[in-house]
């Protein structure tokens, strides 16, 4: 093994050196699969998302060693083990915090967060909102199955009110979070929603997220076929797909329905579903994901709380804003420009200093204590 401790002749302690030597090569989907056995339940929506992500990665052109997947705890949070990249499987709810430490110190890396609805919105709600608010350069994949999978089926913050689970035999009382609204309320610069089974749509959304600078929050509706099967059937069933998926495409009118007969109108700060034949196509709103003002995106997010009817899918909002990590590095650079590269010796000798002369002769107390203190006990 080349790794060594305390031996100057081997290895090195420089991030730049250790992280050097990256060569761009054309990779395939397989190159992004790790050798670990996948342990999700057969039929779990997580498989499809993993396949989509592994499939997208080669296209992004980022070398594997420059990618880090960070997760919390939950079924979905096992994701990093299956990627042949760097991976950190953290603790419940803290993935955004763990990932922030990486993104803030290593602008050369592409950092992905994988989290669940319980992980991100219950125990980790605080980190979720603050990380998004700071616009740390992270891609956050929120696997929303509206249930706690790993702990076997309790209701989650996105579960529908009244859900019967082992912990709520008479139905849950909690009102649910709308992750898109929450992210927008947290000043998110990129917010999107997609669906496990739609490989093409996931890839499109993730591609957009990957090129976004800053926090990108992607809610992925994911079927937990064991504890909450069919939660998103309304969007995936044969007829439901066209009738209930409102595809958001920047610059295009928001129109949906099997017969493209419905659209979204934006009135009095509210987005409403309208029949095109009734209101006329002119009044149908054009989706503008780049609007500085988030009220349009927010209005769209309010069209459905849980997917029980027509539900917007795609990129709600994508605006440019300075990232926290870039600004942190700019402050470092600005300080160095202004003050010069920090010099330890001058720091230690700064401020009011004075010289203590040679010690007085015999009356100096003698003590065999630690010399480093430069002083000896006495009173």
């Amino acid at each position: 093994m080349t790794e060594s401790n305390g031996n100057k002749s081997e290895g090195n302690g420089h991030i730049e050196d250790a992280a050097a030597g990256t060569v761009a090569v054309q990779l395939t989907r397989k190159d992004f699969a790790s050798d670990q056995e996948i342990r999700w339940c057969p039929g779990c929506g997580d498989y499809a998302v993993l396949a989509a992500v592994q499939g997208l990665m080669p296209e992004l052109g980022v070398p594997r060693e420059k990618i880090v997947f960070v997760s919390g705890i939950g079924c979905s949070s096992r994701f990093p083990y299956y990627m042949n990249t760097y991976g950190l499987h953290g603790i419940h709810g803290r993935a955004p915090a763990l990932a922030s430490g990486i993104a803030l110190t290593r602008p050369d890396l592409q950092v992905w967060v994988v989290t669940g609805d319980g992980d991100a919105l219950s125990i980790g709600g605080n980190h979720f909102i603050h990380t998004i608010r700071r616009n740390v350069n992270l891609k956050i994949l929120l696997f929303n199955n509206e249930v706690y999978g790993l702990t076997k089926g309790q209701y989650s913050p996105t579960s529908r009110q009244g859900m019967i689970t082992k912990s709520t035999p008479m139905g849950s009382l909690d009102r649910s979070f709308n992750p898109i609204s929450l992210a927008l309320g947290s000043e998110a610069t990129f917010v999107a929603r997609t669906l496990d089974v739609d490989r093409k749509h996931i890839s499109e959304v993730l591609r957009a997220a990957a090129s976004h600078k800053g926090s990108a929050m992607i809610e992925i509706y994911q079927n937990c076929n064991v504890f909450n099967d069919g939660a998103f059937d309304i969007l995936t069933s044969k007829g439901g797909r066209a009738e209930n998926q409102i595809r958001l495409v920047h610059g295009e009118k928001v129109i949906f329905g099997e017969n493209k007969d419905k659209g979204i109108v934006f009135e009095n700060g509210e987005a409403k579903i309208a029949s095109i034949s009734e209101v006329g196509e002119d009044r149908i709103a054009v989706h503008d994901a780049h609007r500085e003002d988030p009220s349009w995106a927010f209005a769209l997010s309010r069209l459905s709380q849980n997917p029980t009817g027509p539900t917007p899918m795609g990129v709600f909002r994508q605006v440019e804003a300075a990232t926290y990590d870039d600004q942190m590095n700019q402050q470092l650079a600005a300080a160095q420009t202004k003050l010069g590269q920090g010099d330890l010796a001058s720091l230690l000798n700064s401020g009011d200093t004075w010289e203590a002369p040679e010690r007085r002769g015999s009356d100096a107390p003698v003590y065999a204590g630690p010399e480093r203190r430069g002083r000896q006990p006495g009173e």
Binding site: K66, L88, H89, R106, L332, A345, E379
Partner: protein, 614 residues
């Protein structure tokens, strides 16, 4: 005519007043001049948790004590020789510490009926003879300051506010402090205020000096010669600043960027404030949304190759527990700094205590051992930080660094080291496969048991780790019973093995004593002073002070067993003493104080004498 000058070896001065009277600032200015003059010194700031408690009440009293001398000293002093009080509450709150014969200087302007009542005085102690036996000097400081500033261009309010600088002037005259230093430091301290306010403060300071000079109020003034410290260049430094600088020095020695995440909490916040100023050293500071996030960010930054540090106090340590367990499991190098304060819960935010030792030792679920390094004096925080970083980086482990409120806010002269004196911290990242063309993140170094540190960005070494149990070697998830036991023992052995890499505990026992006193952390000064007093009486006592509390130095058990009696003074209900008894089956006796204040030398002395004669 000038008063005669009396030479003293050491003096303890305490400035006391309302939280709004600027006592900490006054003390700081006095200390700066005293340091530059070359005295040895030690300080004890003591202030309420409220920013502005109700004016004039006992709860609102803020004080600053400084002990300075012509020789080496260890503590801020037991009782003030001079108490300067800016109001009746300051007198009431502090009088019990002042011995008869000492000097009390009081701002008589504030001894009004209303203020006396607020402080709980039935009559005016400056006039009713109750302070007989003290050398009492009532001085109308407010009105003298206002009078001195009448042409200065500042309003009455600003003029009155400068009375603390008048008091500082009187004290500077009384103890022959270098006045230029103080004027300069007033200028620096108030730099953000309007020029006329700065000038007014300097004028008030000078008025105080002139007052001492021209009135014949004081029978004598005093001089305390510079101390004969070890030769070299010194500066005065507080514990929190020393800690911050130690972290910068450690990062420098390790050639790693320093990442620091924290959430504001007394008395740890100043470490964050201090480090935030050193961006030109490449220091990244991150004020997180809470302590959990700070700890999380630190783990992430450690994973990606930084010297990674979070600093907090007790309540924040509670919140970080789970994340520390993750760092133990992932075997990542990072520092958790605990600037301890009085607990439980919010407890005494601004007061000192050592009651987190067992929390640091055992406060995580599962078998999650962490090394513990403790600082013993304000300046020693510098060296303790470097040592904690050395251990963390070499053994790939989170390390606890223990400080406390007494060290954090206290200050003392510090012999500035040269860069060559700093310990070597060598860190190497893994860059190549280590096992048959594979990379095994948990293949350990045979000597240290440390695992390789392969940071993201290193080609070919992609690996995934987390808090699930890992197979020895490969680091893959493993629920195998034997493997778990093996890994548990390996993690424990790694931390225990650090004992081979730390110095033996030194025993100070010049006369062959029966009684050994053992301490850790900030009790170094008070225990040292107590020991010295006992020896001055011709009695024998041995003393050992721990820098490393986990693991213990290798000779510690032998040392403990070679004394008939062992005493362990701690500012808690007995933490180290429990560890000693459990580990070595030695009948060590606790000596506990939990008043939010450090031990006094006299208290330690009395306890030692009792045990010696026992």
């Amino acid at each position: 005519m000038t008063a005669p000058i009396k030479e003293l070896e050491r003096v303890v001065v305490r400035f006391a007043g309302d939280s709004g009277d600027g006592m900490q600032a006054t003390g700081d200015r006095f200390v700066e001049a005293t340091a530059v003059f070359g005295n040895d010194l030690s300080t004890l700031p003591d202030f309420p948790a409220e920013i502005r408690a109700p004016a004039g009440t006992l709860a609102g009293v803020s004080s600053f004590q400084v002990h300075f001398s012509d020789h080496d000293i260890l503590t801020p002093g037991d009782s003030p020789n001079v108490l300067v009080t800016m109001n009746p509450a300051g007198l009431k709150a502090n009088l019990r510490d002042v011995q008869k014969g000492s000097i009390i200087i009081a701002n008589s302007d504030t001894f009004t009926q209303g203020n006396l009542e607020k402080a709980g005085f039935e009559s005016n102690p400056l006039e009713d003879g109750s302070l007989e036996g003290y050398q009492l000097y009532p001085i109308p400081m407010t009105s003298l300051t206002v009078e001195a500033l009448k042409d200065s261009g500042v309003g009455k309010k600003d003029a009155e506010r400068a009375k603390n600088m008048f008091a500082l002037g009187v004290m500077s005259w009384l103890f022959h402090r270098p006045t230029d230093t103080t004027a300069g430091s007033i200028r620096k301290r108030f730099a953000k205020l309007p020029e006329e306010v700065i000038e007014a403060n300097i004028a008030a300071f000078k008025a105080g000096i002139n007052f001492g000079e021209t009135t014949e109020l004081f029978i004598s003034s005093f001089s305390v010669k510079p101390a004969s410290l070890k030769p070299g260049r010194y500066r005065n430094i507080s514990g929190n600043a020393a800690l911050a600088w130690g972290l910068i020095a450690a990062a420098h020695q390790a050639k790693l960027p320093l990442f620091y995440a924290g959430y504001p909490i007394t008395p740890a916040s100043d470490v964050l404030h201090e480090l935030a100023r050193y961006k030109h050293f490449g220091v990244r500071t991150f004020q997180a949304e809470d302590e959990i996030a700070a700890a999380g960010a630190v783990v992430g930054a450690a994973f990606s190759g930084n010297l990674s540090v979070t600093c907090t106090s007790g309540p924040g340590v509670d919140l970080k527990s789970e994340t520390m367990g993750l760092a133990v499991s992932m075997e990542l190098p990072l520092l958790i700094v605990d600037v301890q304060r009085g607990g439980p819960s919010t407890g005494l935010p601004t007061k000192t205590e050592q009651s987190d030792l067992l929390l640091a030792m055992y406060g995580r679920h599962g078998e999650a051992p962490m090394p513990i390094v403790a600082a013993s004096t304000p300046a020693d925080c510098f060296w303790a930080a470097i040592e904690a970083a050395r251990i963390a980086l070499k053994y790939r482990t989170p390390v606890f660094l223990m400080s406390d409120g007494f060290l954090a806010n206290g200050s003392e002269p510090w012999l500035i080291p040269s860069i060559e004196d700093l310990p070597d911290i060598w860190v190497s990242f893994a860059t190549e496969m280590n096992h048959d063309g594979e990379f095994w993140p948990f293949l350990r170094d045979q000597e240290t048991l440390a695992r390789p540190w392969a940071i993201p960005g290193t080609p070919g070494l992609q690996h995934r780790i987390g808090g699930l149990e890992k197979a020895d070697g490969t680091g893959n998830i493993s629920y195998d019973p034997d493997n778990h036991e093996k890994m548990t023992r390996l993690r424990a052995a790694k931390v225990a093995g650090i004992a081979k890499d730390i110095p033996d505990v030194e025993v100070d026992d010049p006369d062959g004593a029966d009684l050994l006193v053992v301490g850790w952390g900030s009790t170094w000064g008070p225990i040292g002073a107590g020991v010295r007093r006992v020896r001055a009486r011709g009695k024998k006592v041995a003393w050992a002070h721990l820098r490393h509390v986990n693991p213990f130095p290798r000779n510690f058990g032998k040392v403990l067993r070679s004394y008939r009696k062992v005493l362990v003074p701690e500012m808690n209900m007995g933490h180290l003493v429990k560890m000693i008894r459990a580990e070595f089956l030695v009948d060590a006796k606790p000596y506990n104080k939990v008043q939010g204040l450090p031990f006094k030398a006299a208290e330690v002395e009395a306890m030692l004498l009792e045990l010696i004669d026992d």
